[in-house]
């Protein structure tokens, strides 16, 4: 950058740089054909580790099960049945499945219309499209009228290496502002299976983040049951309290185990309902004196669980000695392989352990 650029205003400088040379540098790997290739950045890479127990398509199977006793349950998608596990439902109940085409705005409006007529539509797309593209249609078509549409979205947060077009790193921030919308971020296959009937039983709109395909199974090892609106203490610990949602609860449990080996005692409070938040349980646990409070989420540091918890604590005058966030940066993230990216942005179990050790 020459002096001329430095003299320019910050915004101008950034723009001129982007126009001149927007491209990244040539990676080492390309220069060295002997180096092993990193794993894929394909759209739907599984987040399951190599030795992890999994269940296939828990959302699709749970919805089929639910539909057996609830004839008003329907499935709608915007050209993403296969990629949201709704194809399982479509195969089991072809007469109750609607392919709406790659038209997310219509998807939400048609679901509203079906809900007006007494049905309970489960609609699926990717989280990025539901949150960024259809916000007004969910707000005015569905939520303002209190309609029981269940919006279930794959690829929440950083669960694809495809880049910002598909990485819904701000979906919770966007949807938390919508009155009357319940928001759920389940951890694993068991959480999803139990959440499906629970959100169907709620008489109002719900946004649920989905893990799809081969989904890890973790919570069956804990005395756990999903309850809408409730946070659950999965393990107790004296020095650290990790409050987490989504698959970050898996990472939190893994991190807690590793910290235990270092004689650091960490509790994990799983908080799958982001809104309405289980403030009573959060205040009770965070109010226990002396613990570092870490909120871990698969979402931007802005507007997700971390800030929701922080606001809850401040409003109640509960101030832990230290409060930290494990979350994605406020940035458009890189494309790449998920393990690389999770490590780069601090949401892998390794990165989480490193962070917590540093904060102690």
């Amino acid at each position: 950058m020459g002096a001329g650029h430095r003299r320019a205003g910050r915004g101008e400088d950034r723009m001129s740089r982007a126009r001149r040379a927007p491209w990244r540098g040539v990676p080492q790997q390309a220069a060295d054909p002997g180096r092993p290739r990193l794993t894929t950045s394909a759209m739907i890479a599984s987040i399951a580790g190599p030795d992890q127990r999994t269940r296939p398509a828990p959302f699709g199977h749970a919805l089929v099960e639910l539909a057996r006793t609830r004839p008003e349950v329907l499935g709608l998608t915007a050209d993403l049945a296969k990629y949201t596990d709704l194809h399982v439902f479509a195969q089991a109940h072809p007469d109750r499945f609607y392919q709406m085409g790659m038209a997310e705005q219509l998807l939400m409006l048609a679901a509203a219309g079906l809900a007006h007529e007494g049905f309970v539509p489960f609609v699926t797309t990717y989280a990025a499209f539901a949150s960024r593209r259809t916000f007004d249609f969910v707000s005015q078509g569905i939520a303002e009228e209190g309609l029981p549409v269940k919006i279930c979205c794959a690829l929440p947060g950083l669960t694809t290496g495809y880049g910002p077009s598909h990485q819904a790193t701000e979906d919770l921030a966007i949807f938390r502002g919508m009155p009357d919308l319940v928001i759920v971020d389940p951890c694993d296959a068991l959480d999803i299976e139990q959440a499906v009937p629970a959100i169907a039983a709620h008489d109002g709109p719900v946004y649920m983040r989905l893990l799809r395909g081969q989904v890890p199974l973790v919570l069956d090892e804990y005395d756990y049951r999903f309850e809408l609106g409730r946070a659950k203490l999965l393990r107790d610990g004296a020095e650290v309290l990790i409050i987490s949602a989504g698959f970050m609860t898996m990472r939190a449990l893994e991190a807690a185990k590793r910290l235990e080996a270092d004689r650091v005692s960490a509790a994990v409070l799983h908080c799958p309902t982001i809104k309405p938040l289980d403030e009573a349980t959060i205040l009770r646990e965070a109010g226990r004196s002396g613990r570092l409070v870490v909120v871990a989420e698969n979402h931007s540091v802005i507007g997700g669980l971390g800030e929701a918890v922080a606001g809850t604590l401040l409003r109640a005058g509960v101030v832990p000695p230290r409060f930290r966030q494990v979350a994605l940066p406020n940035a458009f993230l890189d494309a790449g392989a998920l393990p690389t990216l999770h490590d780069r942005y601090g949401i892998s179990a390794d990165a989480m352990v490193r962070s917590i050790r540093g904060w102690l």
Binding site: M100, L109, A110, A112, G113, E117, S139
Partner: protein
């Protein structure tokens, strides 16, 4: 069905209904001193034909399952729909004094939770047709023979989701869906085709798989024929009635005002407007 035949045999009744709808709308407009009066006057004939010729409903049971659905996508036309709901006996006439005031059931933009007979909360323009698609699919699931009508404005044609919904209705062959477009050629920033040209309209809808009719939206006989043709059309297609209307129709001194999207009317002019309506009756 018998009631409909009786109305049809007495066609001048619809003229009276339309005039009453205009009068209710003017009285509500007077409460606020301004508003979407020109649209209400322009669409009154369409609403008269809808509510007193085409639609099945029960005034004392607005949520009756056997009703035809009438969705107001263009939420700021609420003043027009309230006038029709008053004329239809669904909303008491005395309530028009509360139009747009605190705690009224008649807010300036139509919302389902406020007003009996208001099926959806429109207002965020371009959402009604998509909801109508879902309702039409839902009625078919329930094996209902009722229609979903949705009223939108030509300005709403600017909105992309309208065309997603239009394509979807054609794809799903929704022959129980009737879309009414008020082509009054005026939107917030000026004449509609200058804002974003939507012509040729019938060709567009036909290309999306619809049975399209274009009529003079202030000609009651033409509207009756168009609604009948829409209901009775044999092809398994959604139906659209493109209604060319005149802003402020029925009150000549308002018809000629240029800034007609949100009309200002001086306090003394309301009585003149109602008098002009009545003059039209005797003329």
């Amino acid at each position: 069905m018998d009631a409909r035949k009786a109305v049809r045999a007495n066609a001048p009744g619809l003229e009276d209904r339309a005039r009453n709808i205009r009068r209710h709308a003017l009285r509500m407009g007077e409460v606020q001193g301004q508003g979407y009066i020109a649209q209400a006057l322009g669409i009154a004939d369409v609403l008269a034909v809808a509510y007193f010729h085409a639609l099945a409903y029960r005034p004392d049971d607005p949520a009756w399952e056997g009703r035809d659905r009438f969705l107001l996508s263009v939420g700021h036309y609420a003043i027009a729909l309230y006038a029709a709901l008053i004329e239809a006996g669904i909303v008491p006439e005395a309530e028009l004094e509360t139009y747009g005031t605190d705690d009224s059931r008649l807010p300036m933009s139509g919302m389902a939770s406020y007003t009996p007979g208001m099926e959806i909360s429109g207002g965020s323009l371009g959402i009604g047709l998509g909801i109508a698609v879902g309702m039409a699919l839902g009625l078919k699931r329930k094996a209902s023979d009722r229609f979903v009508y949705t009223l939108m404005s030509d300005g709403e044609l600017d909105e992309g989701p309208v065309w997603e919904a239009a394509m979807s209705a054609g794809h799903h062959r929704l022959d129980n869906l009737i879309c009414i477009v008020d082509v009054n050629r005026m939107q917030a920033d000026g004449p509609s085709t200058g804002v974003l040209n939507f012509e040729p309209l019938p060709d567009k809808w036909q290309a999306f798989g619809w049975f399209a009719q274009r009529v003079d939206g202030n000609d009651i006989a033409a509207l009756v024929a168009a609604f009948d043709a829409a209901r009775n059309h044999a092809e398994p297609k959604p139906r659209v009635i493109l209604c060319d209307t005149r802003m402020a129709k029925g009150v000549p001194f308002l018809e000629t005002r240029e800034k007609s999207h949100f009309l200002r009317v001086e306090p003394h002019e309301w009585a003149l407007a109602i008098a002009a309506l009545d003059e039209g009756r005797t003329a």
